[in-house]
């Protein structure tokens, strides 16, 4: 009898003896963003990915300065060297130091990643805000244009624009902006429509706030979480896209270099034992980079999901209940629940 009551007690803990305690909230009260950060940093994979991203960014910034070689410095006397203490990643066929080149390339790839994710997002947000806020005919026209542009595979825009503008970081970013704004425009339009008639928008309006102020100071912060997840997914996507474009011959043009271009150049050597490093290191760095961004984005999505908090809480309670029940079961001669 006492056993059953003890397990029941865990299931239904009485809130308090008197009425005042009944009003208490049992769970610890938390604010949204501190809770998100806490959950993010409790996730070991997220911390690891963040560290990797940090290290890669730092290396891309400082390594070219520390290296005694220039990324485009040709030295035929030291061509096709294997990795050594002088050249950490070896040298290519014209004697350029691969270590320096990889980090210069990482600069370009990171720039393409961040700008290629941010620019379409900013353009899409502004267009989506206009469509959602003003509605009517403007909305209709913008959304039809969106529909039509979404039907065209993004690779086609990329190829066309890169062919016309030539391969450089800026033309890659322009191409990504033109092919990528539709998604965030649609999404943000929906959000603006959703929040347009909320009380806080009305309050801001009565206080005389402009449309832009309401949209960017009042509505935008409400969906910061979604934006963070979207952006963290778009960064590795842009880096990956650049690598693909480099492979079909539309990457950044020499003497500029990106990681995608480096690993594309190296791929011709992937069967030769003496030049395998030309393929290995750039591909390794770009893969690790994309992996870190991708997994960080996943962890961020998990951390931002408030439903997971309840799940965690419930899982903890369930574990506790099971533990008690197991302990009770081990006692001889007693019935359990």
């Amino acid at each position: 009898m006492s056993e059953t009551t003890s397990s029941r007690k865990l299931d239904f803990t009485p809130v308090g003896e008197n009425d005042r305690d009944a009003e208490q909230i049992i769970r610890p009260s938390t604010r949204y963003w501190p809770e998100v950060w806490k959950r993010l940093f409790r996730n070991k994979l997220a911390v690891l990915c963040l560290t990797i991203i940090g290290v890669i960014i730092l290396c891309a910034i400082i390594m070219p300065f520390l290296s005694p070689y220039k990324f485009d410095e040709v030295n035929l006397l030291s061509s096709s060297l294997k990795p050594s203490a002088d050249h950490f990643f070896g040298t290519d066929a014209t004697g350029r130091d691969l270590w320096t080149r990889v980090w210069i390339g990482a600069r370009a790839s990171l720039l393409i990643g961040f700008l290629g994710a941010l620019t379409p997002f900013i353009i899409g947000t502004v267009i989506g805000a206009v469509a959602g806020w003003y509605g009517g005919r403007i909305d209709m026209i913008i959304m039809r244009v969106c529909d039509i542009m979404l039907c065209i595979p993004s690779m086609i825009y990329m190829i066309l624009i890169l062919m016309v503008m030539g391969g450089s970081i800026s033309s890659l970013v322009v191409a990504m902006a033109i092919s990528g704004w539709m998604g965030s425009a649609r999404g943000f339009r929906g959000r603006v429509l959703q929040f347009k008639n909320k009380e806080f928008t009305l309050a801001a309006k009565t206080q005389g706030a402009s449309a832009a102020r309401i949209i960017f100071r009042h509505i935008l912060p409400n969906i910061l979480g979604n934006i963070a997840v979207g952006l963290s997914g778009a960064v590795p996507g842009a880096i990956f896209m650049e690598a693909g474009m480099a492979y079909i011959g539309l990457g950044v043009t020499p003497p500029n270099i990106s990681l995608g271009q480096l690993s594309t150049d190296g791929i011709t050597y992937f069967m030769s034992a003496s030049k395998f490093h030309l393929f290995l290191y750039p591909s390794l760095v770009i893969s690790v980079m994309i992996f870190a961004f991708f997994m960080f984005g996943n962890s961020l999505r998990d951390a931002l999901d408030p439903r997971l908090r309840d799940e965690e809480y419930n899982a903890k309670r369930m574990r506790k209940i099971k533990r008690v029940l197991r302990r009770e079961a081990r006692r001889p001669g007693k019935a359990v629940v």
């Binding site: 595979p153 190829i159 066309l160 016309v164 492979y247 992937f270 069967m271």
Partner: protein, 305 residues
């Protein structure tokens, strides 16, 4: 239904028109004389060539002519290779690309779907973890690196498949596998999420409450409902396959449209590249159109407005 089909048809045609127009004006933006770029002719000859191809006419006249020839399904002529038309190239090389894409779909979609179902069925099991690993690999490692590694492992080291070329059916296996890897991981992930989502729906609770067997619930209620939304992705997937074939065909030297397209970019053969872009866009738009119609036909819940 007819109204819906008509609406989709109008949007599809508008899309094709938009792509063709963008292509046309972008070519005109290109600096320089295409004939001097492609094969070094002297100025007078290049001018004669411009005259011959009608490139000295006013832009609107060229535009009308271009659109007119598109209506007759004529994609124009190559600038780099005299007398070679885009249609000819498509007729010659598209079947190869289509074969590769169809094989990749026939292999990738069932495999991916099956793996997705299995990994949702046993969350955290061996299959689930290994498919997650596959997903991470295909998202993090650029396709050409992955394909090169598979080529090295399966054909050079183990000697199971020929490394490159396109002769017997055996040559098609490795490119097909490489092309379908992304598809497998995409389908697997999508199917897994959908299976878990459907698993929480009320109608599954009803099925359970009716006392149906687990197998019946999974096969007739959960999988069928999870499969439906996957159909909408098909259009995008076909686009992805065509684009993915650029890379795969180059690596395995498959004589397909993708490889030809990459060559035409490298040769600065603009009309060829643009013609192929328009053609591929038409294929993708047509696929999207069919998928949209198909989706309405198979899902009775979709309301037509």
């Amino acid at each position: 239904m007819i109204k819906y089909v008509a609406k989709r048809l109008v949007i599809s045609l508008a899309t094709v028109w938009a792509i063709a127009t963008i292509c046309f004006f972008l070519i005109r933006l290109l600096p320089g004389n295409p004939f001097i770029v492609a094969n070094p002719l002297d100025i007078t000859n290049a001018d004669k060539m411009m005259e011959y191809y009608g490139l000295n006419d006013p832009v609107w006249m060229q535009y009308v002519r271009f659109m007119n020839s598109l209506l007759h399904l004529d994609f124009g002529y190559s600038l780099a290779h005299a007398g070679r038309s885009v249609n000819e190239v498509i007729a010659l090389y598209f079947p190869v690309t289509a074969q590769l894409a169809i094989q990749a779909m026939l292999f990738g979609i069932p495999t991916g779907t099956l793996l997705g179902i299995l990994s949702a069925y046993k969350r955290g099991g061996t299959i689930d973890i290994s498919t997650q690993l596959l997903t991470i690999m295909t998202t993090a490692i650029p396709a050409y690196v992955l394909a090169a590694m598979l080529q090295l492992l399966l054909s050079v080291k183990l000697g199971w498949f020929p490394a490159s070329g396109w002769e017997t059916q055996k040559y098609t296996i490795l490119p097909t596998i490489c092309l379908s890897l992304g598809m497998i991981s995409g389908h697997c992930r999508g199917m897994r999420t959908l299976m878990l989502e459907v698993g929480q729906q009320d109608y599954l609770k009803t099925a359970k409450a009716k006392g149906l067997s687990e197998a019946r619930i999974i096969f007739f209620h959960q999988i069928r409902n999870a499969l439906l939304p996957m159909v909408t992705n098909l259009g995008l997937e076909i686009a992805g396959l065509l684009m993915g074939s650029f890379v795969i065909e180059k690596i395995f030297s498959v004589p397909g449209l993708g490889k030809y397209f990459v060559n035409s970019i490298n040769e600065l053969d603009y009309t060829m590249a643009m013609g192929l872009v328009v053609f591929q866009a038409v294929v993708v738009v047509a696929a999207n159109f069919i998928v949209d119609i198909l989706y309405v036909l198979i899902d009775p819940r979709v309301k037509l407005d």
